[in-house]
């Protein structure tokens, strides 16, 4: 019994220490965003890595999701003769929920893993120590450019993903479900409100910060060896994905509960 209690206590203390470490890390990162020097080359490189190179994966995922959504809503709507809601539900569903969440999860898988692996490898090969000895703060050089790039590019990716998802629904609606293409487009647009789009974009910015922070945090606390890098990569993707889904719930609650 004492052994069990001790073990539980140890796990709890480790968890508290981890949370404390994460909070201190986040405070340090956000405190450094507006303080020079700014590493513009690292920032633009991160914009390309996080934003531009994620476009194909986000686009393809969104297209098929939009198509599948159209089929599902059509099949469900047919049970009570409401097939005509397909365009508006696809548009609202993509813009409010599926665009940001799927985009966030796909970028988390691609980017959080790559950031954690890159920074983790830098840690185990002493490149982060080398940065410090070259009078450069690793937080400013490695974390801040990635965080700012993710906050700016993930909402853009979400916007592109939303559009491609709606396009996917449109293509399936017109070619498979025999909707009139003009009516489909009009119904997609007419029922969409500005706040639907903005809420998705805000979610994108929050998810972007989660992805970059998790990738960098687990990369920087990476332990030695290939196993350490593997562990850091896995932890970054899992925690970013879970936090995105949790944050999505709370943001939806905050934006739409009334």
């Amino acid at each position: 019994m004492i052994g069990f209690t001790a073990q539980t206590g140890r796990i709890f203390l480790t968890f508290c220490s981890f949370i404390g470490e994460l909070i201190i890390f986040c405070i340090r990162v956000f405190a450094n965003i507006l303080i020079p020097p700014f590493f513009m080359r690292a920032f633009f490189s991160s914009v390309v890595q996080i934003g531009w190179l994620s476009l194909p994966v986000v686009g393809i995922t969104s297209f098929f999701t939009g198509g599948a959504l159209a089929l599902q809503i059509y099949a469900g709507g047919a049970r009570f003769n409401a097939e005509e809601v397909v365009p508006s539900i696809v548009a609202i569903g993509m813009v409010r929920e599926l665009g940001p969440v799927l985009g966030g999860l796909m970028v988390a898988a691609r980017v959080a893993s790559s950031i954690a692996a890159e920074i983790g490898t830098m840690k185990v090969t002493e490149q982060i120590d080398a940065l410090t000895t070259l009078s450069t703060d690793p937080i400013k050089y490695l974390v801040v450019p990635r965080l700012v790039a993710a906050i700016l590019t993930v909402p853009l990716l979400v916007g592109v993903g939303d559009s491609i998802g709606i396009l996917g629904g449109y293509v399936i609606g017109v070619t498979r479900l025999e909707f009139n293409n003009t009516i489909y487009l009009i119904n997609s647009i007419n029922y969409l409100e500005l706040w639907d789009i903005l809420s998705g974009i805000i979610k994108g910015a929050v998810f972007g910060s989660i992805i970059a922070l998790m990738g960098c945090f687990f990369g920087i606390r990476c332990e030695k060896g290939a196993r350490g890098v593997g562990q850091a990569t896995k932890s970054a993707v899992v925690s970013a994905s879970v936090l995105i889904l949790a944050a999505n719930y709370f943001l939806t609650e905050a934006f739409f509960s009334s």
């Binding site: 490149q127 120590d129 410090t132």
Partner: protein, 248 residues
């Protein structure tokens, strides 16, 4: 001058440094030797402010590297890491000129490139390597690039962490000779940690043996072979019999 007084460092129950005392005069080259796992890298990390000692005092030219003035002293320090620690994503010249491309010592890129090429040539690398990436170079060349980076900003103090590890004996001697030349030429204070006796004989003015968390012996290079210290004698002889325990 480097002044280390009564430095203790533990990781949990593992007491690595148990009261290290060390002084290195300006312009002198101190080599710290010792078996693996005796805390040589830890003392170096404490000297660089990368690890904070539990107690004791460290001063580099009068400044504590763990204080708020850390960056002032680090701007006067060069460091050669064991594996080179070159930045994979940057070409060679940007690695060498890193300080000149970022931060307070920033100058324009063409000037920085000129300095980088000059330093590369000083360590025996041709200008044509400047645009290569670290992964395109051999281990010996990477060590030279790391050495060029360490001397790029005219440091007052240079640290070398196992400078010849992973190199063949000939390349190891080339690096040893280069280090000695640079230390004399630049007039810097140098601290090298190694377990390679050949490096000790090539680089050192003074030698200190770290074992079991304390400095067991220190003295001038010419006293090395005359010393009766049993730890030092065993270490130099590479014997498995003596006070330094070995696992077989």
């Amino acid at each position: 001058m480097i002044d280390v007084s009564d430095v203790y460092k533990s990781f949990g129950q593992n007491h690595v440094l148990k009261g290290v005392n060390l002084k290195v005069q300006d312009g002198k080259s101190m080599v710290i030797i010792g078996a693996s796992g005796q805390g040589k890298s830890v003392i170096l990390k404490c000297l660089l402010g990368l690890t904070k000692p539990n107690s004791g005092k460290i001063l580099l030219n009068g400044v504590d590297p763990n204080s708020a003035q850390k960056n002032i002293i680090l701007s006067k320090v060069g460091m050669l890491f064991q594996g080179g620690a070159l930045f994979d994503s940057l070409p060679i010249w940007q690695n060498v000129a890193f300080r000149y491309l970022h931060g307070k010592q920033k100058i324009n890129a063409s000037e920085a490139r000129k300095i980088a090429i000059e330093k590369l040539e000083r360590v025996g690398l041709k200008k044509s390597f400047a645009d290569n990436f670290p992964s395109e170079l051999s281990g010996g060349m990477q060590k030279r690039v790391a050495l060029a980076r360490a001397i790029a900003s005219q440091p007052e103090i240079i640290f070398f962490d196992e400078p010849t590890t992973g190199l063949d004996p000939i390349m190891a001697q080339v690096i040893n000779d280069l280090i000695r030349e640079l230390v004399v030429e630049l007039g810097v204070t140098a601290v090298t940690i190694t377990h390679d006796i050949q490096s000790v004989r090539s680089i050192a003015d003074e030698v200190a043996l770290l074992h079991d968390g304390i400095i067991q012996w220190s003295g001038l290079l010419n006293q090395l072979d005359k010393s009766k210290n049993k730890y030092l004698k065993q270490f130099i002889a590479g014997s498995t019999v003596g006070p330094i325990e070995t696992l077989r």
